[in-house]
């Protein structure tokens, strides 16, 4: 049994014995885990009269109900269910007794409240278990004190404390008041994995009932007495800035209260790493209703002028760097021309093993292929928005944010208020995918509220959201592989770059599996803002690397799975180099599981198969994807997915997320594309930006998890990047054509 020191995160366990008021009778559903046929039986359970707060994560009611806080913001990844499940399991209670709340934003109590990088469960695993386990220990201690018996003789089962020899027993509720007074133990024992009763057992999402009945959950639903609606007008193109505006025709429009300019980031301030923002000068329009403000926004007369090259200081997590933004009105054609040129020149060497140049020269066969992808917009279904009520002394904000702590720093600088005077409520997010780590819209809302001297809700139109993006960059990669006369892979070369960042991971597979290896990179600066997009960089590299390896396997006359497994065997037994950042066994493990579950050698009649596997965000995923041809149209019929992300907390929800990642991957690879002309995005809404729809989604998806007792790693991102590779490989089998440039199907007819 693992013992664990409670020192880390101890602050969160310091008790606050002030009791929350009780006595309310709330209709709350115990639907968390029950079958839908029980929906009728919406239980009305009396709420406790008193709550005893054991630590920041949980409080126990005098009737046995337990409220558990979810520390991280929710954007559809299911943390509001899975995180409390971890606490509840270690506390040893039944899930039906759990109420879940979104914790307030409070770094002192809850540490790093961040949704992103597939790090939520991984980083919280120990702390959440500790929160449950320390509380359970304190309840045991309280019982031991009451019954005058050694604490070691007390056992718990599903919320009941019992002492065998004396026959005494009590529910948690009876001991909660006393437990809340006790010292937090220095060390606690955690459950063994085999004793988990909640972790690993699928529970329904605790918010589904609210979602399907239309309850206000999202930032855009936020209601506040007297709040005005605000919208912001930004330059129509990257490379332009606000010169002047004339609001005379707008001010008199119905419902309009105020029109003014705001400046989100001042020139002299050091920007945070997530303060990405091309459009810092905006015209704010404030009014009484969304429709009235929308109409006024269309009428605003503004003049724009070209930017000049400019620099700003950025705090890159402790290191101050100078960033240069180039002037110019960029176009996609220009980007591709520049990328092709960069790809033809030597790049910056990121890793080199052996003597790749010589081996390429003497190879029996050399395969060289180039790949590219366009910019992508995140297109969260809930457009960017934020509520703010800023006064001279404090600020109250609410809305969708992946990283409230990062927003708080910038808010504090821009509002001139200390952090403790800024209160940020984390609402449910209508998708995030990386986009909501960049909080400029929260800063804008705050500045608008301050100037308007009113609570406001800033709402982006879809067009604002798509044209004021923090996009997935456009990338390019060239791969070369050398085979000897026995079809062994003897040298491998990758050169990758992008506008404006390189996507290269020099130490990932097949690094470590090939004696002669070269990885190079390059970058082209741009004024188009880019940022994290579900599995940054991996979302390009996985697909193209796996498509390339498929071609190399074919040239070597080998089965694509066998070919990868041979390389992984090499990387495991006799790795080349020292910095390989994947575990060959686990990567091989998901490939083997996908091979078995898909019945690889025997595909369904008419199905054309592609495979791929990738490691990123600490986890491993492999897909076998089947395409059937419907006349001329390829359709994804079936996807079998295998994932190794360690222990899976909530399996059905985890499958849901993997299914979503696969559909997202197919959608973006087939259709996703944001193009530029003279700095403007050529797509501004869903009539021109093609999103995957129902009839294009895979007909069936099967998700399998490798069973092991490894602490959980990431899940939101890992199944996403490799889909593009499996799709490209299956398309080749179906059509005889290799696809090198995304989107594979280009712009199709848009359905409404």
């Amino acid at each position: 049994m693992a013992s664990i020191k409670t020192k880390i995160g101890r602050r969160a366990f310091i008790k606050n014995t002030s009791l929350a008021s009780g006595g309310l009778v709330l209709g709350f559903s115990i639907l968390n885990s029950c079958k839908p046929k029980d929906v009728e039986k919406i239980a009305v359970r009396e709420m406790p009269k008193e709550w005893f707060e054991i630590n920041a994560y949980l409080k126990i009611g005098d009737n046995g109900l337990v409220t558990i806080q979810c520390p991280n913001p929710e954007f559809g990844q299911g943390v509001m269910t899975s995180m409390p499940m971890i606490v509840a399991d270690e506390l040893d209670i039944i899930w039906e007794d759990v109420l879940v709340e979104q914790a307030p934003f409070n770094a002192e109590k809850y540490g790093w409240q961040f949704t992103g990088g597939s790090q939520g469960i991984r980083r919280r695993w120990e702390g959440l278990r500790m929160a449950g386990a320390t509380a359970r220990h304190m309840l045991k201690q309280a019982a031991a004190n009451a019954w005058q018996v050694p604490v070691g003789e007390i056992e718990t089962t599903e919320g009941v404390l019992a002492h065998k020899t004396s026959g005494k027993s009590a529910g948690y509720a009876e001991m909660a008041a006393a437990a809340a007074q006790l010292e937090v133990p220095e060390e606690v024992t955690l459950k063994e994995v085999k004793n988990f009763t909640i972790i690993g057992h699928s529970k329904k999402d605790v918010e589904t009932q609210k979602i399907i009945t239309g309850k206000p959950l999202f930032g855009i639903d936020y209601q506040y007495e007297g709040a005005l609606i605000a919208m912001a007008v930004h330059p129509p193109a990257f490379g332009l800035k606000l010169k002047s505006f004339d609001d005379s025709n707008v001010r008199s429009m119905p419902g309009i209260v105020d029109v003014f300019q705001i400046n989100t980031l001042t020139d002299d301030m050091t920007r945070g790493y997530f303060d990405t923002n091309a459009f810092t000068d905006l015209v704010a329009i404030v009014g009484k209703s969304t429709w009235e403000v929308m109409n006024a926004k269309k009428q605003l007369q503004a003049e724009w002028e070209p930017i000049t090259d400019y620099n700003f200081k950025m705090d890159r997590f402790g290191t101050e760097v100078e960033v240069t933004v180039p002037k110019g009105l960029e176009s996609t054609d220009g980007h591709y021309a520049q990328m092709t040129e960069m790809a033809s020149k030597p790049g910056t060497v990121a890793r080199k093993d052996g003597n790749p140049e010589a081996v390429f020269k003497n190879a029996a066969k050399v395969i060289e292929r180039s790949y590219s992808c366009p910019f992508l917009a995140h297109n969260c279904m809930e457009p960017m928005n934020f509520f703010a009520n800023v006064t001279d002394t404090d600020a109250h904000l609410a809305g969708p944010l992946q990283a409230p702590a990062l927003a708080e720093t910038t808010l504090s600088t821009r509002l001139g208020l200390p952090a403790e005077k800024i209160d940020i409520e984390m609402t449910r997010m209508g998708g995030g995918f990386g986009r909501r780590a960049y909080a400029h819209y929260a800063i804008e809302a705050a500045l608008i509220s301050k100037q308007a001297k009113s609570p406001v809700k800033l709402v982006y139109t879809r067009e604002d959201d798509m044209t004021f993006g923090i996009y997935r960059p456009s990338y390019h990669a060239t791969y070369r592989a050398a085979l000897d006369e026995n079809n062994n892979l003897v040298a491998f070369h990758v050169k990758a770059g992008g506008v404006p960042e390189t996507p290269l991971f020099a130490n990932r597979f097949p690094a470590g599996a090939v004696d002669n290896y070269l990885a190079e990179q390059w970058e082209i600066n741009s004024n188009i803002t880019i940022g994290a997009f579900r599995a940054p960089r991996s979302n390009f590299m996985a697909g193209v690397e796996q498509a390339f390896l498929d071609e190399v396997a074919e040239a070597a006359d080998k089965d694509p799975i066998d070919f990868r497994l041979e390389l992984l065997e090499r990387a495991k037994n006799n790795p080349v180099g020292e910095n390989n950042d994947y575990e060959p066994d686990r990567l091989a493990g998901v490939l083997k599981l996908a091979r078995e579950k898909s019945n690889w050698a025997n595909s369904a009649p008419g199905a054309h198969r592609g495979v791929s596997a990738y490691f990123c965000h600490n986890s491993y995923a492999a897909h076998v994807l089947d395409i059937v041809m419907d006349g001329e149209t390829p359709k994804v019929n079936n996807v079998v997915c295998a994932i190794d992300c360690g222990i899976v907390v909530n399996p059905d929800a985890a499958s849901n997320m993997a299914e979503g990642a696969i559909i997202d991957g197919v959608g973006n690879a087939m259709y996703g594309s944001l193009t530029f002309k003279d700095g403007r995005t050529e797509q501004t809404n869903f009539d021109t930006y093609k999103m995957i729809r129902h009839n294009e989604a895979p007909k069936n998806i099967e998700v399998h998890f490798v069973k092991n007792e490894i602490d959980p790693t990431g899940l939101g991102e890992p199944p996403f990047p490799p889909v593009m590779g499996a799709l490209a490989n299956a398309l080749y089998k179906a059509t005889g054509r290799r696809h090198y440039h995304q989107p594979f199907l280009g712009k199709k007819e848009i359905l409404g």
Partner: protein, 151 residues
């Protein structure tokens, strides 16, 4: 500005707005029913789907002046206790991820089942094609629609 008496979820609501105001914003801003979502404003995403009589319509493209006597049902009024067969199926399959698109999906699905209680896979896809789900819950949505059809 003009006054309208609207029948929404079985109640009559009087509102005073510009006649061109789309029902989406009448619901969200004026009646404070925010279950109906804004996604695109141009009838491309389905997030704003409501029922006008028995038909699923995009409320972002429905001016309040065009409603007249017709009954409007929003996600909040689909059932009294969230127990419409489609809602129950959504719960059983645990369809949502972020959940933002789901009110629209449910409104489209429930209108479909009303006029076609046993749709084929293709009929489901065709009916649901106007509803985008960015999180990619399409396979679960289809399973849930079929589950609801069987119930």
């Amino acid at each position: 500005m003009a006054t309208f008496n609207l029948k929404i979820n079985g109640e009559t609501k009087e509102i005073d707005v510009d006649p061109s105001t789309p029902m989406l914003w009448v619901l969200r801003d004026h009646i404070k029913l925010v279950g109906t979502k804004y996604g695109c404003g141009i009838a491309q995403c389905g997030a704003c789907t409501i029922h006008l009589g028995d038909n699923a319509v995009r409320s972002c493209q429905l001016p309040v002046s065009a409603v007249g006597e017709q009954e409007i049902t929003t996600i909040e009024g689909l059932s009294e206790n969230g127990d419409h067969p489609v809602q129950k199926a959504w719960l059983e399959i645990d369809v949502p991820q972020c959940g933002y698109c789901q009110a629209g999906q449910i409104m489209t699905a429930s209108a479909l089942l009303k006029r076609n209680p046993h749709p084929s896979d293709t009929e489901i896809e065709t009916a649901m094609n106007g509803n985008i789900c960015r999180c990619g819950t399409y396979t679960r949505i289809k399973t849930a629609v079929k589950t609801a059809a069987e119930s």
